[in-house]
């Protein structure tokens, strides 16, 4: 009997693959724009949103989207630069975590749900969830494809993009909002604490192996998808948390990448 005879495993593979693809692509731009910690903060804002939704008795995705979009718009409005260097990130991150715990507490929400929000759950993904994930992933990838050239220019050469007359503020806010949407759907599967990992580690690893933007996007997506598949298989056979295996796979790719990068650097110097 294979693991794929179970509906929940099939669903987990479909949902996980789509989310990994989306995070893999988004990650390349998150890393290029130095937004790793802002991504981490938005996932925590998402945790507060999901906790609020549970407290208010509404669909978690609505709570997640409402909070993360507001948070992303706030960050965009105040200026990403300030958030990159300021303590504001830690203040908002801590406040979001506190708010989440507060909503869970006053809503008398069970501990299991809190764990799911923080660490994710691949059990219990139904077809309605999958369609939701398909729609959001398709939307995010479509927007990324349509804005690819502008986003790429602004992410890798802001001076040039600004001089070429691109609306860099609009691009910045637009990308943050897209990140919020992607985070909202990802939190439900991998949890608030691990969204950050899936959105940044595959991309950080990919840039160690390749020097082209398209190559980074392909490799980052591939690493993210393989890590999710590895996590699901390993989790199924060992009963250990899937998220652990996902992060372990991504981290292994990253550390192997640093070794590869150093070796290829040495080879180039020797040549």
């Amino acid at each position: 009997m294979t693991m794929f005879q179970y509906d929940f495993i099939q669903h987990a593979f479909i949902a996980g693959t789509l989310i990994a693809l989306m995070c893999g692509v988004m990650g390349v731009f998150i890393i290029a724009r130095s937004l790793s910690f802002i991504a981490h903060t938005i996932s925590h804002i998402g945790f507060a949103g999901a906790a609020f939704a549970a407290f208010a008795g509404i669909d978690p995705l609505i709570g997640l989207l409402a909070f993360t979009l507001l948070g992303a718009a706030g960050v965009g409005q105040m200026g990403v630069r300030m958030f990159r260097r300021d303590a504001s990130v830690s203040v908002i991150l801590s406040l979001s975590l506190g708010l989440g715990i507060f909503f869970l507490s006053i809503g008398n929400i069970q501990g299991n749900y809190s764990r799911t929000l923080l660490f994710g759950s691949v059990v219990g993904i139904d077809m309605a969830d999958i369609w939701q994930i398909v729609a959001i992933t398709f939307f995010v990838l479509l927007v990324l494809a349509a804005g690819y050239r502008w986003l790429k220019f602004d992410s890798f050469d802001q001076v040039g993009a600004q001089a070429a007359g691109l609306p860099i503020r609009m691009i910045s806010i637009g990308f943050l909002l897209l990140m919020a949407v992607a985070t909202s759907v990802t939190v439900q599967i991998v949890g608030a604490l691990l969204v950050f990992a899936l959105m940044t580690v595959p991309a950080a690893a990919a840039r160690l192996y390749t020097q082209s933007i398209a190559g980074m996007i392909v490799l980052s997506s591939l690493i993210a998808v393989l890590s999710v598949w590895f996590g699901l298989v390993a989790g199924y056979y060992t009963s250990a948390p899937v998220s652990f295996f996902i992060v372990a796979f991504d981290a292994a790719c990253y550390f192997l990448g640093t070794v590869y990068h150093r070796l290829s650097d040495r080879r180039q110097i020797a040549a």
Binding site: G147, Y148, K152, F156, D157, G160, A161, A163, L166, Q211
Partner: protein, 256 residues
């Protein structure tokens, strides 16, 4: 003569401080136009006003032709490029191709990209990470990115400042070639008066509250003017030395 840029009574203030005041001049199409002056004279602000990145308090910047179709290329003195930046030179140049929305490059765009990289002698650097290139190679890649959209107007903000003399000449020769072959109009800021003498058709000399335009020789041979603007002792201004670049080296033309 057809003018590419017309600056009319331009006034720019920053935090209440007057940077440019009542500045008017025009740049003929298809020429190389140098902007010289001491630090803080407002040279970069002027380029930013032309790019539309700085809004003037008064006056106007007019560029001939349809503003929606006018393409401006810009090469700054330097960009903050992390050595570990993984993006290769070819990708960096292709960033400038923004006229289409689809993620992939068309056959024509690929051809144009190849031509520009050949033109700027950056073809062999195509696969090298931008962070690992030398200063001169990097500036040529930046120039290639600025040229890849075939600009009508090219603005160079001290883009040769950090280069050794050979790399400076190589870069400026490429710019001159772009002017000759494509009729690009070039505005360049430089502190190196030798380069200005060798490459500029006309010069704008600018200091706080003062400016003058004229043919290159007229401006650079006016020792009293250089003395006034750069606040140099008369003997230095008239000596033909580069007044800003630690120069014991004589200016190529005036030293003869």
């Amino acid at each position: 003569m057809l003018h590419k840029i017309q600056i009319d009574k331009l006034e720019v203030n920053f935090h209440g401080e007057e940077i440019l005041k009542d500045l008017s001049f025009s740049v003929p199409a298809g020429q190389m136009f140098a902007i010289i002056g001491p630090n803080g004279a407002g040279k970069s602000t002027l380029l930013k006003s032309i790019l539309g990145l700085v809004r003037p308090q008064h006056g106007s910047v007019s560029i001939a032709g349809d503003p929606k179709k006018t393409v401006i290329g810009y090469v700054p003195q330097s960009r903050i490029i992390d050595e570990e930046t993984p993006i290769n030179a070819k990708d960096f140049v292709s960033l400038g191709l923004i006229s289409r929305m689809v993620p992939w490059l068309s056959r024509q765009e690929k051809k144009g990209l190849k031509e520009i990289m050949r033109f700027t002698d950056t073809e062999r650097l195509a696969k090298k990470p931008i962070g690992k290139l030398s200063g001169g190679e990097r500036q040529r890649v930046f120039l290639a990115q600025a040229l890849v959209r075939r600009p009508d107007l090219l603005l160079l903000d001290e883009s040769t400042a950090n280069l050794d003399p050979d790399a400076q000449v190589r870069m400026m020769a490429l710019v001159k070639k772009a002017v000759k072959e494509w009729g690009v109009t070039v505005l360049f800021i430089s502190h190196d008066l030798r380069l200005v003498r060798d490459y500029a058709d006309q010069v704008l000399i600018i200091a706080r509250g003062f400016y003058k335009t004229g043919a290159t020789e007229t401006i650079l041979d006016d020792a009293a003017l250089l003395k006034q603007v750069f606040e140099l002792p008369a003997e230095d201004a008239g000596s033909g030395r580069d007044p800003l670049n630690a120069s014991e080296m004589p200016l190529s033309a005036s030293s003869s």
